[in-house]
Symmetry: C2
Subunit: 238 residues, 2 copies
Protein backbone atom coordinates (compact mmCIF):
# COMPACT_ATOMS: atom_id res chain seq x y z
CA UNK A 1 0.00 0.00 0.00
CA UNK A 2 1.56 3.33 -1.08
CA UNK A 3 1.58 6.45 1.06
CA UNK A 4 -0.26 9.13 -0.91
CA UNK A 5 -1.16 12.75 -0.28
CA UNK A 6 -1.07 14.08 3.31
CA UNK A 7 -4.74 14.39 4.19
CA UNK A 8 -4.54 15.82 7.69
CA UNK A 9 -1.92 16.48 10.31
CA UNK A 10 -3.05 16.47 13.93
CA UNK A 11 -1.17 16.88 17.16
CA UNK A 12 -0.10 13.23 17.38
CA UNK A 13 -0.58 11.68 13.95
CA UNK A 14 -0.45 12.31 10.23
CA UNK A 15 -3.06 10.80 7.93
CA UNK A 16 -2.16 9.97 4.33
CA UNK A 17 -4.30 8.75 1.49
CA UNK A 18 -3.56 5.41 -0.10
CA UNK A 19 -4.51 4.02 -3.51
CA UNK A 20 -7.57 2.53 -1.76
CA UNK A 21 -9.97 5.38 -1.02
CA UNK A 22 -11.32 3.52 2.02
CA UNK A 23 -7.91 3.03 3.62
CA UNK A 24 -5.68 5.62 5.29
CA UNK A 25 -2.04 5.48 6.18
CA UNK A 26 -1.46 6.71 9.77
CA UNK A 27 1.97 7.91 10.83
CA UNK A 28 2.44 8.37 14.59
CA UNK A 29 4.48 11.49 15.38
CA UNK A 30 7.19 12.02 17.99
CA UNK A 31 5.28 14.96 19.39
CA UNK A 32 3.67 15.31 22.81
CA UNK A 33 1.12 18.03 23.54
CA UNK A 34 -1.04 18.88 26.52
CA UNK A 35 -3.46 21.55 27.69
CA UNK A 36 -4.92 22.01 24.22
CA UNK A 37 -1.49 22.41 22.64
CA UNK A 38 -0.13 24.94 25.15
CA UNK A 39 2.58 22.51 26.30
CA UNK A 40 4.41 20.87 23.40
CA UNK A 41 7.59 18.87 23.03
CA UNK A 42 9.33 16.58 20.59
CA UNK A 43 9.96 13.19 22.17
CA UNK A 44 12.04 10.71 20.19
CA UNK A 45 10.46 7.29 20.06
CA UNK A 46 6.98 8.29 21.21
CA UNK A 47 5.42 7.65 17.80
CA UNK A 48 6.80 4.12 17.65
CA UNK A 49 5.57 3.34 21.17
CA UNK A 50 2.03 4.59 20.56
CA UNK A 51 1.79 2.89 17.18
CA UNK A 52 2.78 -0.42 18.72
CA UNK A 53 0.61 -0.09 21.81
CA UNK A 54 -2.43 0.92 19.76
CA UNK A 55 -1.82 -2.00 17.42
CA UNK A 56 -1.78 -4.50 20.30
CA UNK A 57 -4.90 -3.03 21.90
CA UNK A 58 -6.94 -2.86 18.69
CA UNK A 59 -5.83 -6.46 17.94
CA UNK A 60 -6.94 -7.62 21.37
CA UNK A 61 -10.24 -5.78 21.07
CA UNK A 62 -10.82 -7.46 17.71
CA UNK A 63 -10.09 -10.90 19.12
CA UNK A 64 -12.76 -10.18 21.72
CA UNK A 65 -15.35 -9.13 19.17
CA UNK A 66 -14.89 -5.38 19.08
CA UNK A 67 -14.22 -4.00 15.61
CA UNK A 68 -12.18 -0.88 15.01
CA UNK A 69 -10.74 1.07 12.10
CA UNK A 70 -7.41 -0.76 12.54
CA UNK A 71 -6.26 -2.80 9.55
CA UNK A 72 -2.57 -3.59 10.07
CA UNK A 73 0.74 -2.30 11.34
CA UNK A 74 3.00 -1.32 8.43
CA UNK A 75 6.18 -0.16 10.11
CA UNK A 76 7.44 0.87 13.54
CA UNK A 77 5.43 4.07 13.54
CA UNK A 78 2.87 3.48 10.81
CA UNK A 79 -0.39 1.60 10.45
CA UNK A 80 -3.23 1.26 7.97
CA UNK A 81 -6.77 2.05 9.08
CA UNK A 82 -10.20 2.21 7.53
CA UNK A 83 -11.13 5.75 6.62
CA UNK A 84 -14.13 7.03 8.54
CA UNK A 85 -15.92 10.32 9.04
CA UNK A 86 -14.84 11.12 12.57
CA UNK A 87 -17.72 12.12 14.84
CA UNK A 88 -16.24 15.17 16.58
CA UNK A 89 -16.89 13.86 20.07
CA UNK A 90 -14.37 12.68 22.61
CA UNK A 91 -16.02 9.82 24.44
CA UNK A 92 -14.44 9.55 27.88
CA UNK A 93 -14.89 6.52 30.15
CA UNK A 94 -13.98 6.88 33.82
CA UNK A 95 -13.60 4.12 36.39
CA UNK A 96 -11.73 6.13 39.00
CA UNK A 97 -11.69 9.88 39.63
CA UNK A 98 -8.74 11.75 38.15
CA UNK A 99 -7.88 14.78 36.06
CA UNK A 100 -10.69 17.10 35.05
CA UNK A 101 -13.36 15.04 36.84
CA UNK A 102 -11.51 15.41 40.14
CA UNK A 103 -11.18 19.15 39.57
CA UNK A 104 -14.77 19.57 38.42
CA UNK A 105 -16.46 17.69 41.23
CA UNK A 106 -13.86 18.08 43.97
CA UNK A 107 -13.31 14.31 44.20
CA UNK A 108 -9.79 13.31 45.25
CA UNK A 109 -7.75 11.65 42.49
CA UNK A 110 -7.79 7.89 42.91
CA UNK A 111 -11.28 7.67 44.38
CA UNK A 112 -13.17 4.77 42.75
CA UNK A 113 -16.46 5.95 41.26
CA UNK A 114 -19.67 4.31 42.44
CA UNK A 115 -20.06 3.17 38.86
CA UNK A 116 -18.24 3.74 35.59
CA UNK A 117 -19.33 6.91 33.84
CA UNK A 118 -19.19 8.10 30.24
CA UNK A 119 -18.69 11.75 29.33
CA UNK A 120 -18.87 13.46 25.96
CA UNK A 121 -16.62 16.35 24.98
CA UNK A 122 -16.92 18.40 21.83
CA UNK A 123 -13.71 17.71 19.85
CA UNK A 124 -13.00 21.33 18.95
CA UNK A 125 -9.60 22.79 19.73
CA UNK A 126 -10.82 26.39 19.36
CA UNK A 127 -13.51 25.86 21.98
CA UNK A 128 -11.07 23.92 24.18
CA UNK A 129 -12.88 20.57 23.90
CA UNK A 130 -15.81 21.54 26.16
CA UNK A 131 -17.82 19.04 28.20
CA UNK A 132 -21.30 18.44 26.78
CA UNK A 133 -24.55 17.51 28.47
CA UNK A 134 -27.28 15.54 26.70
CA UNK A 135 -29.05 18.83 26.00
CA UNK A 136 -25.92 20.20 24.31
CA UNK A 137 -25.51 16.97 22.33
CA UNK A 138 -29.07 17.35 21.04
CA UNK A 139 -28.51 21.00 20.15
CA UNK A 140 -25.25 20.36 18.30
CA UNK A 141 -26.69 17.29 16.55
CA UNK A 142 -23.20 15.92 15.83
CA UNK A 143 -24.82 12.50 16.23
CA UNK A 144 -28.42 11.40 16.60
CA UNK A 145 -29.73 10.54 20.08
CA UNK A 146 -29.69 6.85 19.05
CA UNK A 147 -26.08 7.17 17.93
CA UNK A 148 -25.17 8.79 21.25
CA UNK A 149 -26.65 5.77 23.03
CA UNK A 150 -24.61 3.50 20.74
CA UNK A 151 -21.41 5.43 21.46
CA UNK A 152 -22.07 5.20 25.17
CA UNK A 153 -22.70 1.45 25.16
CA UNK A 154 -19.77 0.74 22.83
CA UNK A 155 -17.52 2.77 25.12
CA UNK A 156 -18.65 0.76 28.16
CA UNK A 157 -18.14 -2.52 26.27
CA UNK A 158 -14.61 -1.47 25.32
CA UNK A 159 -13.97 -0.64 28.96
CA UNK A 160 -15.04 -4.17 29.91
CA UNK A 161 -12.42 -5.59 27.52
CA UNK A 162 -9.62 -3.14 28.31
CA UNK A 163 -9.86 -3.27 32.10
CA UNK A 164 -8.85 -6.95 32.42
CA UNK A 165 -6.16 -6.56 29.73
CA UNK A 166 -4.51 -3.92 31.89
CA UNK A 167 -5.32 -5.64 35.17
CA UNK A 168 -3.38 -8.68 33.93
CA UNK A 169 -0.26 -6.55 33.43
CA UNK A 170 -0.55 -4.94 36.85
CA UNK A 171 -2.11 -1.71 35.72
CA UNK A 172 -5.40 -0.04 36.60
CA UNK A 173 -7.30 1.63 33.79
CA UNK A 174 -8.36 4.86 35.49
CA UNK A 175 -9.99 6.51 32.49
CA UNK A 176 -9.61 6.81 28.72
CA UNK A 177 -10.78 8.74 25.67
CA UNK A 178 -12.20 7.20 22.50
CA UNK A 179 -13.07 8.59 19.11
CA UNK A 180 -15.56 6.99 16.77
CA UNK A 181 -16.28 7.52 13.12
CA UNK A 182 -18.83 6.53 10.52
CA UNK A 183 -18.01 4.29 7.59
CA UNK A 184 -19.41 4.90 4.12
CA UNK A 185 -22.40 2.68 4.97
CA UNK A 186 -23.20 4.59 8.19
CA UNK A 187 -21.77 2.02 10.59
CA UNK A 188 -20.22 3.46 13.77
CA UNK A 189 -16.63 2.26 14.16
CA UNK A 190 -14.06 2.73 16.90
CA UNK A 191 -11.23 4.84 15.42
CA UNK A 192 -8.22 6.99 16.35
CA UNK A 193 -5.88 5.41 18.92
CA UNK A 194 -5.80 3.77 22.34
CA UNK A 195 -2.48 4.49 23.98
CA UNK A 196 -0.96 6.04 27.11
CA UNK A 197 -1.70 9.36 25.37
CA UNK A 198 -5.41 8.64 25.64
CA UNK A 199 -5.62 6.49 28.80
CA UNK A 200 -4.75 7.04 32.44
CA UNK A 201 -2.82 3.95 33.57
CA UNK A 202 -1.63 3.53 37.14
CA UNK A 203 0.79 0.84 38.25
CA UNK A 204 -0.95 -1.41 40.77
CA UNK A 205 2.13 -1.89 42.96
CA UNK A 206 3.76 1.55 42.94
CA UNK A 207 0.72 3.66 41.99
CA UNK A 208 3.04 5.33 39.47
CA UNK A 209 1.42 7.01 36.51
CA UNK A 210 2.27 5.17 33.28
CA UNK A 211 0.64 7.61 30.88
CA UNK A 212 0.71 11.12 29.46
CA UNK A 213 0.25 12.65 32.93
CA UNK A 214 4.01 12.02 33.25
CA UNK A 215 4.41 14.63 30.51
CA UNK A 216 1.53 16.91 31.59
CA UNK A 217 2.80 17.08 35.17
CA UNK A 218 6.56 16.75 34.54
CA UNK A 219 6.84 13.49 36.47
CA UNK A 220 9.69 11.92 34.49
CA UNK A 221 10.46 10.37 31.13
CA UNK A 222 7.43 9.77 28.93
CA UNK A 223 9.11 7.12 26.79
CA UNK A 224 10.28 5.20 29.87
CA UNK A 225 6.74 4.70 31.13
CA UNK A 226 5.25 4.09 27.67
CA UNK A 227 7.94 1.42 27.23
CA UNK A 228 6.81 -0.21 30.46
CA UNK A 229 3.28 -0.44 29.08
CA UNK A 230 4.45 -1.75 25.71
CA UNK A 231 6.75 -4.34 27.23
CA UNK A 232 4.16 -5.59 29.72
CA UNK A 233 1.70 -5.91 26.84
CA UNK A 234 4.30 -8.20 25.26
CA UNK A 235 5.16 -5.80 22.48
CA UNK A 236 8.85 -5.04 22.87
CA UNK A 237 9.95 -7.75 20.45
CA UNK A 238 7.73 -6.46 17.64
CA UNK B 1 -42.47 38.64 62.54
CA UNK B 2 -39.20 39.50 64.32
CA UNK B 3 -35.79 39.34 62.68
CA UNK B 4 -33.71 36.87 64.68
CA UNK B 5 -30.18 35.54 64.42
CA UNK B 6 -28.28 35.93 61.12
CA UNK B 7 -28.30 32.41 59.71
CA UNK B 8 -26.30 32.89 56.53
CA UNK B 9 -24.91 35.72 54.48
CA UNK B 10 -24.49 35.13 50.74
CA UNK B 11 -23.32 37.36 47.94
CA UNK B 12 -26.74 38.97 47.40
CA UNK B 13 -28.86 38.27 50.46
CA UNK B 14 -28.83 37.77 54.21
CA UNK B 15 -31.01 35.12 55.82
CA UNK B 16 -32.28 35.61 59.37
CA UNK B 17 -34.20 33.31 61.64
CA UNK B 18 -37.64 34.31 62.84
CA UNK B 19 -39.68 33.11 65.80
CA UNK B 20 -41.23 30.58 63.40
CA UNK B 21 -38.62 27.92 62.69
CA UNK B 22 -40.13 27.31 59.24
CA UNK B 23 -39.93 30.94 58.17
CA UNK B 24 -36.85 32.97 57.25
CA UNK B 25 -36.36 36.67 56.95
CA UNK B 26 -34.51 37.57 53.72
CA UNK B 27 -32.73 40.89 53.40
CA UNK B 28 -31.62 41.82 49.88
CA UNK B 29 -28.18 43.44 49.86
CA UNK B 30 -26.90 46.40 47.84
CA UNK B 31 -24.04 44.29 46.57
CA UNK B 32 -23.34 43.14 43.01
CA UNK B 33 -20.90 40.34 42.26
CA UNK B 34 -19.87 38.52 39.11
CA UNK B 35 -17.37 35.92 37.94
CA UNK B 36 -17.66 33.93 41.15
CA UNK B 37 -17.09 37.03 43.31
CA UNK B 38 -14.04 38.32 41.43
CA UNK B 39 -15.88 41.50 40.41
CA UNK B 40 -17.71 43.11 43.30
CA UNK B 41 -19.35 46.47 43.91
CA UNK B 42 -21.74 48.18 46.27
CA UNK B 43 -24.72 49.52 44.35
CA UNK B 44 -27.20 51.67 46.28
CA UNK B 45 -30.77 50.60 45.70
CA UNK B 46 -30.03 47.20 44.14
CA UNK B 47 -31.42 45.28 47.13
CA UNK B 48 -34.73 47.14 47.00
CA UNK B 49 -35.08 46.56 43.27
CA UNK B 50 -34.41 42.81 43.46
CA UNK B 51 -36.63 42.36 46.48
CA UNK B 52 -39.53 44.07 44.68
CA UNK B 53 -38.97 42.32 41.35
CA UNK B 54 -38.68 38.90 43.00
CA UNK B 55 -41.86 39.61 44.97
CA UNK B 56 -43.82 40.44 41.82
CA UNK B 57 -42.53 37.39 39.95
CA UNK B 58 -43.14 34.91 42.78
CA UNK B 59 -46.64 36.43 43.19
CA UNK B 60 -47.37 36.02 39.49
CA UNK B 61 -46.05 32.46 39.51
CA UNK B 62 -48.30 31.68 42.47
CA UNK B 63 -51.34 33.13 40.72
CA UNK B 64 -50.56 30.78 37.85
CA UNK B 65 -50.28 27.73 40.07
CA UNK B 66 -46.56 27.59 40.75
CA UNK B 67 -45.69 27.54 44.43
CA UNK B 68 -42.47 28.98 45.81
CA UNK B 69 -40.84 29.67 49.15
CA UNK B 70 -42.13 33.27 49.00
CA UNK B 71 -44.46 34.29 51.84
CA UNK B 72 -44.67 38.08 51.81
CA UNK B 73 -42.79 41.31 51.30
CA UNK B 74 -42.00 42.95 54.64
CA UNK B 75 -40.20 46.13 53.67
CA UNK B 76 -38.49 47.70 50.69
CA UNK B 77 -35.60 45.24 50.79
CA UNK B 78 -36.95 42.43 52.96
CA UNK B 79 -39.25 39.49 52.52
CA UNK B 80 -40.35 36.41 54.43
CA UNK B 81 -39.85 32.99 52.88
CA UNK B 82 -40.39 29.38 53.86
CA UNK B 83 -37.19 27.81 55.09
CA UNK B 84 -36.01 24.95 52.90
CA UNK B 85 -32.96 22.76 52.57
CA UNK B 86 -31.46 24.20 49.41
CA UNK B 87 -30.49 21.56 46.85
CA UNK B 88 -27.03 22.79 45.84
CA UNK B 89 -27.82 22.85 42.13
CA UNK B 90 -28.25 25.85 39.91
CA UNK B 91 -30.97 24.93 37.44
CA UNK B 92 -30.47 27.00 34.31
CA UNK B 93 -33.13 27.35 31.60
CA UNK B 94 -32.07 28.70 28.22
CA UNK B 95 -34.31 29.85 25.39
CA UNK B 96 -31.68 31.74 23.41
CA UNK B 97 -27.90 31.30 23.31
CA UNK B 98 -25.93 33.69 25.51
CA UNK B 99 -23.18 33.78 28.10
CA UNK B 100 -21.45 30.53 28.95
CA UNK B 101 -23.52 28.49 26.48
CA UNK B 102 -22.38 30.70 23.62
CA UNK B 103 -18.78 30.37 24.74
CA UNK B 104 -19.01 26.63 25.36
CA UNK B 105 -20.62 25.67 22.07
CA UNK B 106 -19.46 28.53 19.86
CA UNK B 107 -23.04 29.67 19.21
CA UNK B 108 -23.41 33.42 18.61
CA UNK B 109 -25.22 35.29 21.41
CA UNK B 110 -28.82 35.89 20.46
CA UNK B 111 -29.25 32.70 18.43
CA UNK B 112 -32.59 31.07 19.32
CA UNK B 113 -32.11 27.46 20.40
CA UNK B 114 -33.93 24.74 18.49
CA UNK B 115 -35.67 24.03 21.77
CA UNK B 116 -35.42 25.26 25.34
CA UNK B 117 -32.72 23.47 27.32
CA UNK B 118 -32.12 22.91 31.03
CA UNK B 119 -28.63 22.71 32.52
CA UNK B 120 -27.52 21.79 36.02
CA UNK B 121 -24.57 23.42 37.73
CA UNK B 122 -23.12 22.38 41.06
CA UNK B 123 -23.69 25.33 43.42
CA UNK B 124 -20.20 25.35 44.92
CA UNK B 125 -18.20 28.58 44.90
CA UNK B 126 -14.90 26.79 45.55
CA UNK B 127 -15.35 24.60 42.50
CA UNK B 128 -16.58 27.59 40.46
CA UNK B 129 -20.15 26.27 40.00
CA UNK B 130 -19.20 23.59 37.45
CA UNK B 131 -21.57 22.30 34.77
CA UNK B 132 -22.84 18.78 35.51
CA UNK B 133 -23.89 15.98 33.20
CA UNK B 134 -26.46 13.37 34.19
CA UNK B 135 -23.60 11.03 35.08
CA UNK B 136 -22.12 13.65 37.42
CA UNK B 137 -25.54 14.26 38.97
CA UNK B 138 -25.84 10.55 39.70
CA UNK B 139 -22.34 10.42 41.18
CA UNK B 140 -22.85 13.44 43.42
CA UNK B 141 -26.32 12.25 44.48
CA UNK B 142 -27.32 15.76 45.55
CA UNK B 143 -30.81 14.76 44.43
CA UNK B 144 -32.30 11.45 43.31
CA UNK B 145 -32.74 10.81 39.58
CA UNK B 146 -36.51 11.26 40.08
CA UNK B 147 -35.92 14.58 41.81
CA UNK B 148 -33.67 15.69 38.94
CA UNK B 149 -36.52 14.97 36.53
CA UNK B 150 -38.86 16.96 38.79
CA UNK B 151 -36.43 19.90 38.88
CA UNK B 152 -36.16 19.82 35.12
CA UNK B 153 -39.90 19.77 34.50
CA UNK B 154 -40.60 22.41 37.15
CA UNK B 155 -37.96 24.64 35.56
CA UNK B 156 -39.58 24.26 32.14
CA UNK B 157 -43.02 24.99 33.61
CA UNK B 158 -41.69 28.14 35.26
CA UNK B 159 -40.21 29.16 31.92
CA UNK B 160 -43.65 28.79 30.33
CA UNK B 161 -45.09 31.21 32.88
CA UNK B 162 -42.21 33.70 32.92
CA UNK B 163 -41.74 34.01 29.15
CA UNK B 164 -45.17 35.61 28.49
CA UNK B 165 -44.88 37.81 31.60
CA UNK B 166 -41.73 39.32 30.13
CA UNK B 167 -43.00 39.28 26.55
CA UNK B 168 -45.92 41.44 27.67
CA UNK B 169 -43.52 44.10 28.95
CA UNK B 170 -41.44 44.06 25.78
CA UNK B 171 -38.66 41.88 27.09
CA UNK B 172 -37.30 38.53 25.92
CA UNK B 173 -36.36 36.02 28.59
CA UNK B 174 -33.06 34.74 27.21
CA UNK B 175 -32.13 32.46 30.11
CA UNK B 176 -32.40 32.26 33.90
CA UNK B 177 -31.15 30.39 36.95
CA UNK B 178 -33.35 28.80 39.60
CA UNK B 179 -32.66 27.24 42.97
CA UNK B 180 -34.91 24.72 44.61
CA UNK B 181 -35.09 23.41 48.15
CA UNK B 182 -36.79 20.72 50.12
CA UNK B 183 -39.36 21.43 52.80
CA UNK B 184 -39.49 19.48 56.05
CA UNK B 185 -41.92 17.02 54.43
CA UNK B 186 -39.64 16.40 51.43
CA UNK B 187 -41.57 18.53 48.96
CA UNK B 188 -39.45 20.28 46.30
CA UNK B 189 -40.10 24.02 46.34
CA UNK B 190 -38.86 26.86 44.14
CA UNK B 191 -36.68 29.10 46.36
CA UNK B 192 -34.05 31.85 46.25
CA UNK B 193 -34.87 34.74 43.88
CA UNK B 194 -35.92 35.54 40.32
CA UNK B 195 -34.52 38.91 39.37
CA UNK B 196 -32.32 40.61 36.78
CA UNK B 197 -29.44 39.14 38.82
CA UNK B 198 -30.57 35.65 37.84
CA UNK B 199 -32.19 36.22 34.42
CA UNK B 200 -30.95 37.52 31.08
CA UNK B 201 -33.55 40.01 29.86
CA UNK B 202 -33.22 41.76 26.50
CA UNK B 203 -35.39 44.68 25.44
CA UNK B 204 -37.41 43.69 22.39
CA UNK B 205 -37.14 47.09 20.68
CA UNK B 206 -33.57 48.16 21.45
CA UNK B 207 -32.04 44.74 22.16
CA UNK B 208 -30.50 46.39 25.24
CA UNK B 209 -29.55 44.13 28.10
CA UNK B 210 -31.77 44.78 31.14
CA UNK B 211 -29.97 42.48 33.56
CA UNK B 212 -26.75 41.81 35.45
CA UNK B 213 -24.75 41.62 32.20
CA UNK B 214 -24.83 45.45 32.40
CA UNK B 215 -22.67 45.06 35.51
CA UNK B 216 -20.63 42.05 34.30
CA UNK B 217 -19.73 43.78 31.04
CA UNK B 218 -19.69 47.42 32.21
CA UNK B 219 -22.53 48.45 29.92
CA UNK B 220 -24.02 51.19 32.09
CA UNK B 221 -25.98 51.71 35.30
CA UNK B 222 -27.31 48.52 36.87
CA UNK B 223 -30.04 50.27 38.86
CA UNK B 224 -31.27 52.14 35.78
CA UNK B 225 -32.00 48.92 33.91
CA UNK B 226 -33.34 47.06 36.97
CA UNK B 227 -35.70 50.05 37.46
CA UNK B 228 -36.91 49.65 33.88
CA UNK B 229 -37.80 46.02 34.63
CA UNK B 230 -39.48 46.90 37.93
CA UNK B 231 -41.48 49.75 36.45
CA UNK B 232 -42.63 47.75 33.42
CA UNK B 233 -43.72 44.99 35.79
CA UNK B 234 -45.90 47.66 37.45
CA UNK B 235 -43.88 47.74 40.64
CA UNK B 236 -42.57 51.30 40.96
CA UNK B 237 -45.44 52.46 43.14
CA UNK B 238 -44.93 49.68 45.69
N1 LIG C 1 -9.97 6.12 10.72
C1 LIG C 1 -9.89 7.46 10.65
N2 LIG C 1 -10.37 8.13 9.57
C2 LIG C 1 -10.30 9.48 9.50
N3 LIG C 1 -9.75 10.25 10.48
C3 LIG C 1 -9.28 9.63 11.59
C4 LIG C 1 -9.32 8.22 11.73
N4 LIG C 1 -8.79 7.91 12.94
C5 LIG C 1 -8.44 9.07 13.53
N5 LIG C 1 -8.71 10.11 12.72
C6 LIG C 1 -8.44 11.54 12.97
O1 LIG C 1 -7.08 11.77 12.70
C7 LIG C 1 -6.72 13.04 13.20
C8 LIG C 1 -5.27 13.04 13.60
O2 LIG C 1 -5.08 12.48 14.87
P1 LIG C 1 -4.38 13.33 16.01
O3 LIG C 1 -3.00 13.71 15.59
O4 LIG C 1 -4.56 12.55 17.28
O5 LIG C 1 -5.29 14.64 15.96
P2 LIG C 1 -5.76 15.67 17.09
O6 LIG C 1 -4.69 16.71 17.15
O7 LIG C 1 -7.06 16.21 16.55
O8 LIG C 1 -5.95 14.90 18.37
C9 LIG C 1 -7.74 13.33 14.27
O9 LIG C 1 -8.59 14.39 13.82
C10 LIG C 1 -8.55 12.05 14.38
O10 LIG C 1 -9.88 12.31 14.75
N1 LIG D 1 -36.01 29.44 51.34
C1 LIG D 1 -34.70 29.31 51.59
N2 LIG D 1 -34.29 28.59 52.67
C2 LIG D 1 -32.97 28.45 52.93
N3 LIG D 1 -32.00 29.00 52.17
C3 LIG D 1 -32.36 29.71 51.09
C4 LIG D 1 -33.71 29.90 50.74
N4 LIG D 1 -33.75 30.64 49.59
C5 LIG D 1 -32.47 30.89 49.24
N5 LIG D 1 -31.61 30.35 50.14
C6 LIG D 1 -30.16 30.44 50.14
O1 LIG D 1 -29.81 31.70 50.65
C7 LIG D 1 -28.43 31.93 50.40
C8 LIG D 1 -28.18 33.41 50.25
O2 LIG D 1 -28.50 33.87 48.95
P1 LIG D 1 -27.40 34.59 48.07
O3 LIG D 1 -26.92 35.82 48.76
O4 LIG D 1 -27.99 34.72 46.71
O5 LIG D 1 -26.25 33.48 48.16
P2 LIG D 1 -25.11 33.04 47.13
O6 LIG D 1 -23.95 33.94 47.38
O7 LIG D 1 -24.85 31.61 47.51
O8 LIG D 1 -25.70 33.16 45.74
C9 LIG D 1 -28.10 31.04 49.22
O9 LIG D 1 -27.26 29.98 49.68
C10 LIG D 1 -29.46 30.47 48.81
O10 LIG D 1 -29.30 29.18 48.25
MG1 LIG E 1 -5.67 13.02 18.97
MG1 LIG F 1 -27.43 33.80 44.94
Amino acid sequence: MEKGRLLYEGKAKQLFETEDENILFVSYKDSATAFNGEKKENIDGKGILNNKITTILFDQLKSQGIESHFVEQISDNEQLVRKVDIIPLEVVVRNIAAGSLSKRLGIKEGTPLKHTIVEFYYKDDELGDPLLTNAHLELLALASPEEIVTLQSKALEINQVLMPIFKEIGVTLIDFKLEFGKTANGEILLADEISPDTCRLWDDKTNNKLDKDVFRRNLGSLTEVYEIILSRLGGLSK
